[in-house]
Symmetry: C2
Subunit: 318 residues, 2 copies
């Protein structure tokens, strides 16, 4: 018995086949070129899926899809994810069921990754955990009493839209001071870009890293320059971690999870991300026994979490 997983992101597509123990038998990845819209992307994805299935030498029993929300998992419908132009209203489950002749389940990427950590990663054996992804946006998935918490309108775990900075930056959601607007990779890059214009080339290493083109600065450039001791980059990085620590403090006070697992590209910076984050959270959480709550990286890494999430969605459907 195997699972077919499909991961649809704004920048990459992935398809793979895994056992129900989470062992990956075959996988394919390709750039998403999301500006092409859903039809071309789904065509590519189906071709990748068929190749992976053939390579696995198995016949998957069920298909799971991990894709950016918002979406309606009950109806299998996509609802205008910001990173995927043209996807609003696409009945993705029905399309894939017709094309593949298999039962399909879809879920948003953060929920999917939370379940994957719980099944096969750093959440194994736990009843309550919080998964957070810090990437283009900031998302979350909540496992309570060994079940994924969906909440009204599937809104549970939307910790990226906690208000962590009164009068802070404007967020894509329409709010202001949201965690996502202060600490996502996009927010870090935006703040670096804006700040760079006030710095000479000699004053910040970021100028070199972006090849003299501030519009190409990424969160990865910021973490790298911060690691090398650049003061501007360090202040932007610390500011984002400060906002993230407030968000985690608030989620911990609400849920008191056994573990907080942090994935996504920004978290893949490693120690320069986790060490200050753990310290800030420990300084801010007093009433919940924070020493008993580990803040740990994803078991799968930013590149692989989406596909593992897709397998977890398939396993849940099973």
């Amino acid at each position: 018995m195997t699972l077919l997983g499909l991961d649809i992101g704004g920048t990459k597509l992935a398809a793979g086949v895994a056992t129900i123990q989470g062992q990956v038998l075959a996988r394919r990845r390709a750039p998403a070129w999301s500006a092409r819209g859903p039809d071309a992307m789904i065509t590519d994805l189906l071709a990748m899926a068929r190749t992976a299935v053939a390579e696995s030498g198995t016949r998957p029993a069920v298909v799971g899809v991990s894709i950016g929300g918002p979406l309606d998992p009950e109806r299998g419908m996509i609802i205008g994810p910001p990173g995927l132009p043209g996807w609003n209203g696409v009945p993705l489950r029905d399309i894939l069921e017709r094309a593949l002749g298999l039962p399909v389940a879809i879920d948003n990427d953060a929920n999917a990754a939370a379940v994957a950590e719980w099944c096969w990663g750093h959440g194994q054996g736990l009843d309550n955990l919080l998964y957070v992804t810090v990437s283009t946006g900031v998302g979350g998935g909540v496992i309570v009493n060994s079940h994924l918490l969906r909440g009204v309108g599937c809104g549970a775990g939307e910790i990226g839209h906690m208000l962590v900075r009164p009068n802070g930056s404007v967020c894509a959601c329409g709010g202001r001071g949201c965690l996502e607007a202060e600490a996502s990779g996009t927010a870090i890059a935006r703040k670096a870009r804006e700040a760079l214009l006030g710095y000479t080339r000699e004053a910040s290493r970021l100028w070199d890293l972006c090849g003299g083109q501030p519009e190409t600065v990424t969160a990865r450039h910021v973490s790298q320059a911060a690691r090398e001791g650049d003061l501007l980059a360090a202040s932007i990085w610390e500011d984002a971690l400060d906002a993230l620590a407030t968000g985690l403090t608030n989620a911990i006070c609400t849920l008191a999870p056994q573990r907080v697992i942090v994935g996504g590209g920004v978290a893949s910076a490693g120690d320069i991300f986790f060490k200050p984050l753990r310290q800030l959270v420990a300084e801010r959480v007093h009433i919940v026994p924070v020493y008993a709550i580990g803040i740990v990286p994803s078991a799968f890494g930013a590149d692989h979490a989406g596909l593992m999430g897709a397998f977890a969605v398939a396993l849940e459907r099973l």
Copy 2:
């Protein structure tokens, strides 16, 4: 079959007998005089309990206790609640079981009130709800998938210690800018007291309400003066509601509950509390369908919620 409920607060004690449908057959209330410490309070409480049991004409099967946390419900042990001097380490469950000859369960007041709302109040029939009490402190109880969420160290629902104001007021927990330090009745009274010293008697109605003695100002004085149009009181009141709205925004983004029930003495101010609170939360929550989440008062009122919570703890034990 009936339930014996015991409510232990910093200012009042209550004991009562109810059916498992939540119908109250008898009850007694008395001031707590908490400075006397646990022995004298427990003696009073047992006398009140025996009177209530006799009046009910029933023999309760089980006892539930609602008391300020932190505490350990598994061991039935109190752990230094701020409003109850001398209670740290009191093995309350064992003491009461010996005295009453009945099985006893204890839980913190916010958890107890959350379960009471779910059993008999404004949370009936819901799977997921958040109960918040805004009183001397700010506490919360979370029901998820029809179960009370306890979390690590029974820390779930501690929304009073969310960080809602970076660099805000110092909190009793050791933190800074906690919701409790910005929006509890104690915080509202403190801010009014401090502000009054800068106002002449003619400039604020609060001077009259507190009889010219700023040290006696209460949150109730503030809500009353705000209702009468006093500008100082209105600004303190709005500031507290602003902090509370941020806390609820963050809890809603994490849990997406079907309903938020707000109890406690501060919430009993009524429309002047709920109307602006609902509006502020609606302005701040964008990604979760907040229109589907009611923010409603407790079904029991601030005076009665503690005892109903105690009955709910008894019912859970059953």
